[in-house]
Symmetry: C2
Subunit: 320 residues, 2 copies
Amino acid sequence: MHLNIADVIPAYRDDINSALTHIYPQGPKSLTSPVNYVLNGRGKRIRPLLAIFVAEACGGKKEDVFSAALAVEVLHNFTLVHDDIMDQDQMRHGQPTVHHKWDDGIAILTGDAMLSLALKLLNKSPSGRRQQIKKFIDGLLAVCEGQAMDKEFETMETVSLEDYQKMIDLKTGYMLGLAAEMGAISAGRDEHTINAIGDYGRLIGRAFQIQDDYLEIFSDSSNMGKSLKSDIILGKKTYLMIQAHLAANSEISSAIKLAQNDFSKGISEIRIILEENGIKEKTENEIQSIITLTDNKISTLNIDKERLLYFSKLIHKRGN
Amino acid sequence: MHLNIADVIPAYRDDINSALTHIYPQGPKSLTSPVNYVLNGRGKRIRPLLAIFVAEACGGKKEDVFSAALAVEVLHNFTLVHDDIMDQDQMRHGQPTVHHKWDDGIAILTGDAMLSLALKLLNKSPSGRRQQIKKFIDGLLAVCEGQAMDKEFETMETVSLEDYQKMIDLKTGYMLGLAAEMGAISAGRDEHTINAIGDYGRLIGRAFQIQDDYLEIFSDSSNMGKSLKSDIILGKKTYLMIQAHLAANSEISSAIKLAQNDFSKGISEIRIILEENGIKEKTENEIQSIITLTDNKISTLNIDKERLLYFSKLIHKRGN
């Protein structure tokens, strides 16, 4: 029996949210409060959903991947808590960040404790635990390295698109790949399928990140606007800004300077430069071609692809 | 054949130090530099030595526990890097701390990456890996909770000795217990022996911590003096200060205030209060009685105890 994906997502998300509220009931209050504050946040739960959908697409069961799926979500939130300290971001998912609401020390510890909770969940995984633990450990190092590269880029004059792609693959792609792999492993699939599905997840992550870069500048939603300001101030290299520096270095540099003083004037200027130099269109095309690539990755696999197409559709939907 | 412990320690420590320099050869420079800086630091390597000695005492081999022993040392150093940020300590093992030499963001990431490296080492453990991973994950949460309690204590008016002991057991004891357990597990020992040896390690940790508290105030070595100043300023609750607050609250409070303005005058005052109220002597007795407890923990076990007595001797030696 096939349920419609749109129908199962809210139920799955509820299951995930409910489970997340139960993973750290007891401990020192200065730790349980911020940890549960984060776990009760309004994340989209993309990663555990991906893990579950991959498991089902591979003929596996939600129950068998659920603990590993939660582990990836907690790992993801651990990175957010620590990254928010480093980036000095004050808001996340519509609420104050941990270091902003409490302090840096509490936020460091909160992340550390969450990593331990993620590992606890993973260690309870009923199916394929050993392989999952290995992938998880590699994923943890990957996100640290991606974040390190991202911070290095802030103080660099120029960054190549190649290095940028390497960075987002490590920082964002790897964890979506990890989520996807958790599903395939829990369903007992072979190495070839696990790797192809991991690649699929990593590409989804790459498309997501480039789209984030795109929407941050071109979307009018207040959600995206919040981080834009801090990114401009920090001189964050994004897929679009790197190309702007390559194509029109002096214009974009003055526009950034302008944005630091008069944000809305500067951002209009930045948008015009990106459009006039064909960077807006090129980015739209790049996102589209990555989506095609993700579909190709799974086209020859003997799995129920319907459930996975949700994620490329999600990217389309966000873009419109 | 039994080698003298004093003879093997320098060789074992060299092996540990040498292995630590090889665990993170490649990655983004902003991460490899601080990680290797920490791993090349001048730690005493007590935890991996304990793991190896326990393994040998249990009839196991150094090679079988080596990877897990390194994992505990890297875990320990991860906690130091993050704790030093929170405590704003500028020196560690005679060199500037990571957050002081680089910045807070780099130090957060350095710790996170080290945790991943510790897990990688553990995941290569040839003997008893599954049990070791479980203990390791529990240990990680324990140290986070211990540090959280320690930070909570800073802003509390009074702390009970019972809560203090719980805190140091989590923050310090648990990881020495973990190191000891790694050895017993790698040697294939039964649950009862593993637990008794874990208790032994935790007690060693408790004695160490209380002795640290003691030496910080009563030792004249410059090593100890460094952290004392920041501890006094932060209002750290130690085994001795808690008792001083219980026995002579107004005197010790004025002495602390004095120390914040005139450090050497204040610290002399604090020493006098601790001596006059019998707290110095009580602490010496407490350390002695914990050592007796550790010896009792292993007295009935069928293991080569000689190798473990090194650690209680170490405490005696430090004290003199």
